[in-house]
């Protein structure tokens, strides 16, 4: 049950950004309230007065007026910027404001969890309740986080010191937002497709704002498109995950694959390959039905160039899939001393999977049992429990 706010999502980032520039990020909460109120006002007054000639300017002006009312009520002594209710679109560059808002929100001062809430609320135009639904948290928790984040920001943070240096953290935040949607770590859903799609939308919005042909941007967009193309095939009717080898490839979304290749092409101009490039390459291969050998190649490349616990684990799984279960178990054994890897349910379930292929039911069941005890989304848990039950039955 998602509450729907008026359909002005695309205006949200622009209006918020303009007001943040004029009034400062310390008033972010009041700004968000004022913007929401302007939307409600538009919703019910436009049918009476007719749609204004410039809806965008109408909304900005309405939001600004409401914000000033808010601030007057709370702090009588506040100095306000010079009033300018003229057409906002004429003499300003809203794109510049919006861009600054991205930089502000993705500031390293903020924790990732705070950035996520601010990105969705401010740039994405989602309500706190919608964000709470997406993140499987309470609305109060989301509001608390926004409020805490706001207190860490001050007007100086809006100054762009070095745009090129500021871009990587933004891309990283968007990438993390996407992966969180692509495979939920906890909660009732295995995937949160809408979160992944929202991350894509924000990345596209940012790409059009910067107007630049940054190859890393294209690589990130490519990897998002390729991965989104497979969403329809990744879960069954009950929301349980389907393994790659069992996925119905005809369900892959062709238009996203095409968009992925378009951006991959544009990403080629890079002088240095980013993590996004390699992951886009991998995702392109999977989406276009690459062999286990192809996938092993990409996983090796990623683990070598951008080593991380997750990359090592994925590589071990790719080894087992291509070279056989025993090789996979050997590779997993080599990395088990890393606590970041060994405590993931993915590690234990990979062991369970390879032991099942070797027909060692006892060891497989043990591993699945361990995996079930670890934090994860409930569909993954259910599918592991299913595999565990099958093993126990066939053992009797």
């Amino acid at each position: 049950m998602n509450p729907n706010l008026p359909n002005f999502r695309d205006e949200h980032a622009r209006i918020t950004a303009t007001l943040v520039r004029k009034f400062g990020p310390q008033h972010l909460e009041s700004i968000l309230d004022a913007t929401q109120e302007a939307f409600i006002a538009a919703l019910h007054s436009w049918p009476l007065q007719g749609e204004p000639n410039n809806p965008s300017a109408w909304l900005t002006t309405a939001a600004e007026r409401r914000l000033i009312d808010h601030l007057r009520k709370t702090r009588r002594e506040t100095q306000f910027p010079e009033q300018d209710f003229a057409d906002h679109s004429l003499n300003q560059k809203p794109e510049e404001d919006e861009l600054k808002l991205y930089f502000l929100i993705c500031s390293p001062k903020l924790k990732f969890s705070e950035q996520v809430c601010l990105m969705l609320r401010t740039l994405g135009g989602l309500t706190s309740l919608e964000i709470a639904h997406l993140l499987h948290e309470s609305e109060e928790a989301v509001q608390r986080r926004i409020s805490r984040a706001k207190n860490k920001l001050n007007p100086d943070d809006l100054e762009l010191h070095d745009r090129n240096a500021s871009l990587p953290p933004i891309l990283l935040s968007l990438y993390l937002l996407f992966t969180e949607g692509y495979e939920a770590f906890r909660g009732d859903e295995y995937l949160r497709a809408d979160l992944a799609v929202e991350a894509l939308r924000l990345t596209q919005q940012l790409a059009s704002l910067t107007g630049q042909d940054d190859p890393n941007f294209h690589a990130l967009l490519a990897l998002m498109h390729f991965n989104i193309s497979r969403l329809p095939a990744r879960t069954n009717q009950d929301g349980l995950p389907i393994l790659l080898k069992d996925q119905d490839k005809s369900l892959y979304d062709r238009s996203h694959i095409a968009a992925g290749f378009y951006h991959l092409e544009k990403a080629q101009s890079a002088t240095q390959l980013s993590r996004y490039h390699l992951e886009a390459g991998l995702a392109a291969n999977i989406a276009s039905g690459g062999t286990s050998k192809d996938l092993l190649y990409w996983h090796e490349l990623i683990a070598e160039r951008f080593p991380s616990p997750f990359a090592q684990l994925s590589l071990a799984i790719a080894i087992g899939t291509h070279l056989g279960p025993q090789k996979g178990l050997d590779a997993l054994n080599e990395i088990k001393s890393n606590p970041h890897i060994a405590k993931t349910p993915h590690f234990q379930s990979a062991i369970g999977h390879f032991y099942t292929e070797l027909n060692n039911r006892k060891a497989a069941a043990d591993a699945y049992k361990k995996a079930i005890g670890l934090t994860m989304s409930s569909p993954i848990k259910r599918s592991l429990e299913q595999r565990f039950a099958e093993l126990s039955e066939s053992a009797q």
Binding site: N4, I40, A41, L43, H44, S45, W46, P47, L48, A62
Partner: protein
């Protein structure tokens, strides 16, 4: 708990009166509309019953005819009233929904308000 659709039927004469107001007067009147609707929407949200709400523009088409479909511009040519928007919310029963509908600011602005219970399957 059931879901209810509250439909707002604005009077055509009233809409024309609003649209003909001089800009300053209209701005003042709009402020009043905004205040009342914001308060009402927030109340529904605070009570946890708000599901959605939208406004409808005046642009539209009317389609009519079983064998030969005739398409004409805008509903206002035929109607005395125009659906201006709706609220969609939850309530315990029709009585409670009606009580909530009584506070809808649309009434204050001369509109007719209709409340309908969503069918349960």
């Amino acid at each position: 708990m059931s879901k209810y659709l509250l439909m707002i039927y604005n009077d055509i004469d009233e809409i024309q009166r609003w649209m003909a107001m001089p800009p300053e007067e209209q701005a003042e009147a709009m402020k009043d509309v905004a205040e009342k609707y914001i308060a009402y929407t927030k109340r529904l949200m605070d009570e946890g019953r708000y599901l959605a709400s939208e406004g409808l523009g005046n642009k539209g088409k009317v389609l009519l005819g079983k064998d030969q479909i005739e398409i004409t511009d805008g509903p206002y040519i035929f109607a005395k009233e125009l659906v201006g928007g709706f609220f969609y919310f939850t309530a315990e029963n029709l009585e409670e929904a009606t009580a909530i509908a009584q506070d809808c600011p649309a009434l204050y602005f001369g509109a007719r308000v209709e409340i309908r219970e969503q069918m349960q399957y």
